[in-house]
């Protein structure tokens, strides 16, 4: 389901099913296709994949019907992504950074998704409102090299 909510914004509604991630990727590609640098497109793809995969896998019990709404919008030169879901309360901005692994044998598997989001997005804000998680991510194009 894709609907244009206002000029320059686009909205996609997903179910908590891993198969939905493919639809998310195609939809992001359609939005970022023109006027977005390859690096920012990559960052948006990465952060939204991580955020939505987290909700699908950990947002509720297997049979809970969780609805995930994703919005992308260009705003003052930045690309803004909003992810809203009715799953259990989870604030990724408060998740502690993963501890650096001392060796391959002792390295913990997992726990890098939120760290990747923090590193690839230029800003990440969370609020819990009306029983829903609302995560806002900002992506800024790197400044063009000065012509002077």
């Amino acid at each position: 389901m894709i609907a244009m909510s206002n000029a320059g914004a686009s909205r996609l509604v997903l179910r908590n099913d891993v198969a939905e991630l493919e639809r998310l990727a195609g939809w992001i590609e359609g939005f970022t296709g023109q006027g977005t640098s390859p690096d920012v497109s990559f960052a948006v793809q990465l952060c939204l994949e991580e955020a939505v995969a987290n909700i699908i896998m950990y947002g509720g019990a297997k049979d809970d019907a969780i609805v995930i709404a994703v919005e992308l919008e260009r705003n003052c030169g930045a690309l803004v992504a909003r992810i809203e879901d009715n799953g259990q309360q989870f604030d990724p901005t408060r998740a502690p950074p993963p501890a650096p692994a001392v060796s391959l044998e002792q390295a913990k598997v997992g726990d890098v998704g939120i760290h990747l989001m923090r590193s690839f997005a230029n800003g990440m804000d969370y609020e819990r409102r009306d029983g829903r998680n609302r995560l806002t991510l900002r992506f800024v194009e790197p400044a063009a090299p000065s012509s002077e």
Binding site: V18, L21, P38, P100, L104, V109, H115, L116
Partner: protein
């Protein structure tokens, strides 16, 4: 996403991954990748045709590297594209799995 494996000289196996190494792609290659990691001792993972990497893909690489290491073997990565290399570095994988820019350097490291 797809995966292929070929035996090189010196008991080295080259695994080529292609496509989008996200959750969807990782689910597809996870089993065949684990099979190679279980059966082989020296593995070069060619990421030059991987244009996207997310945390589930990192998980598959890390689990494979751990399996090979536990048998006394070694798994290395070769030729990740810029953004894929940045994901590996951000996730701290560059200190756990050696990353090389050429296949020659990777196979030389495995042969030694």
């Amino acid at each position: 996403m797809d995966i292929s494996a070929d035996d090189l000289a010196g008991g080295i196996t080259k695994v080529v991954l292609r496509g989008r190494f996200d959750t969807t792609g990782a689910v597809v290659v996870e089993l065949p990748f684990n099979k190679v990691a279980t059966e082989k001792q020296k593995i070069v993972v060619d990421l030059s045709a991987v244009n996207f990497l997310a945390s589930y893909g990192i998980r598959v690489l890390l689990v494979g590297a751990k399996v090979v290491k536990s048998k006394g073997g070694s798994l290395v990565i070769v030729c990740p594209d810029n953004n894929v290399a940045k994901v590996l570095k951000t996730a701290g994988m560059d200190s756990l799995i050696p990353i090389y820019q050429t296949e020659a350097a990777a196979t030389a490291a495995l042969a030694s």
